[in-house]
């Protein structure tokens, strides 16, 4: 537990001191033990999400960084993207199978922004209705099938 908080403390400091473009940690929404964060994302200029704002929620377990955080979109604006379900769940391999402890909140945010940026057509995943009806609340419990690297 202590190592998780120590690392999150360092990440928070680095992210507030020197944030990447379009990524802003909402420091007011962070819980006392750093286990829950909210990050504000901006759609990158020149992409279909230009000018839009999104909220990304991070939940860290006590085994972080050896275990991946639980990451999903929250709030009123869930991006219309073929890998983002309408309940905010994201189909992104680094959030489960391809997680590595060398990844961080910053690298996850950049991956999500990059995933949004490579989108050409705003649409939901084809199985959105079924998935949203049947899935668990925790996106990490979903057995994701990563098949499409193009978007």
């Amino acid at each position: 537990m202590a190592s998780m908080e120590k690392r999150l403390q360092k990440e928070l400091l680095a992210l507030t001191k020197d944030p990447p473009v379009g990524v802003k940690v909402n420091t007011d929404a962070i819980t006392k033990n750093l286990a829950e964060w909210t990050v504000d994302l901006e759609g990158a200029p020149g992409t279909v999400f230009e000018g839009e704002n999104f909220q990304l929620q991070f939940k860290f377990g006590s085994r972080y960084p050896f275990d991946s955080p639980q990451v999903m979109f929250i709030g009123p604006n869930i991006p219309l993207h073929p890998h983002v379900y309408s309940n905010g769940h994201i189909c992104l391999s680094i959030l489960t199978d391809d997680w590595s402890p060398a990844l961080s909140v910053q690298s996850v945010c950049l991956s999500v922004v990059s995933m949004l940026s490579s989108c050409k057509e705003k649409k939901r995943p084809p199985d959105n209705a079924l998935y949203v009806k049947t899935c668990s609340k925790n996106p990490k419990k979903t057995r994701w099938w990563y098949h499409d690297d193009s978007v």
Partner: protein
């Protein structure tokens, strides 16, 4: 870029590593960051470096390797990695360097306390008293002698003399001794 360096890791290691101190505080900050573990983001202790050149604390890397034992990849570049594919690093400050891989990281290990003998029926405690009963094929008379007269060893010691368990076991072993003698006698006359 701010010059706030409150988060700077241990000065000692940064000083040992740099022969010519950086011109600005920022430069020193970055220099120290070069020696940060890629997992805990702290200055690496018990440091090891992978074949692909990535630095870790051995306890951190060990925990990651334990997390996915069947898929051991470098956290930074996903190259193959393992206990025998990392090199320990010994700085000058350490007078008697010890391979960090030899001392496993401090972590709680599984415990298996021996079940306590509550002694429900001490009279039937065959295995753990001074008496042992065994069936088997062996050199016929000697097998009986060794098992009846407790000539084999490797058994827990008898209970303390004077305890009720001791007297009961003495009594039992005497009974079985007589049973064995009667059995031998019957064998002789039959």
């Amino acid at each position: 870029m701010s010059t706030d360096n409150s988060s700077k890791p241990a000065e000692a290691s940064a000083g040992a590593a740099s022969s010519n101190p950086g011109p600005s505080e920022n430069g020193e900050d970055e220099k120290a960051a070069v020696y940060e573990c890629n997992i805990c983001l702290d200055t690496a202790h018990d440091a090891v470096v992978s074949m692909c050149g990535h630095l870790f604390c051995w306890p951190c890397l060990h925990q990651w390797l334990e997390t996915r034992p069947q898929r051991q990849l470098c956290p930074v570049c996903k190259a193959g990695i393992g206990k025998d594919k990392v090199i320990p690093i010994y700085g000058r400050g350490n007078p008697n360097p010890q391979d960090p891989r030899e001392k496993l990281p401090p972590r709680p290990s599984g415990q298996r306390p021996e079940p306590e003998n509550t002694g429900g029926f001490p009279a039937f405690g065959f295995g753990d008293g001074g008496f042992q009963f065994s069936f088997g094929i062996g050199a016929f008379p000697f097998g009986i002698f060794t098992s009846s007269f407790n000539m084999s060893d490797n058994r827990p010691g008898p209970p303390q003399a004077g305890s009720p368990q001791h007297t009961e076991e003495q009594f039992l072993s005497r009974i079985f001794l007589w049973v064995a003698i009667l059995f031998l006698f019957w064998l002789l006359i039959a």
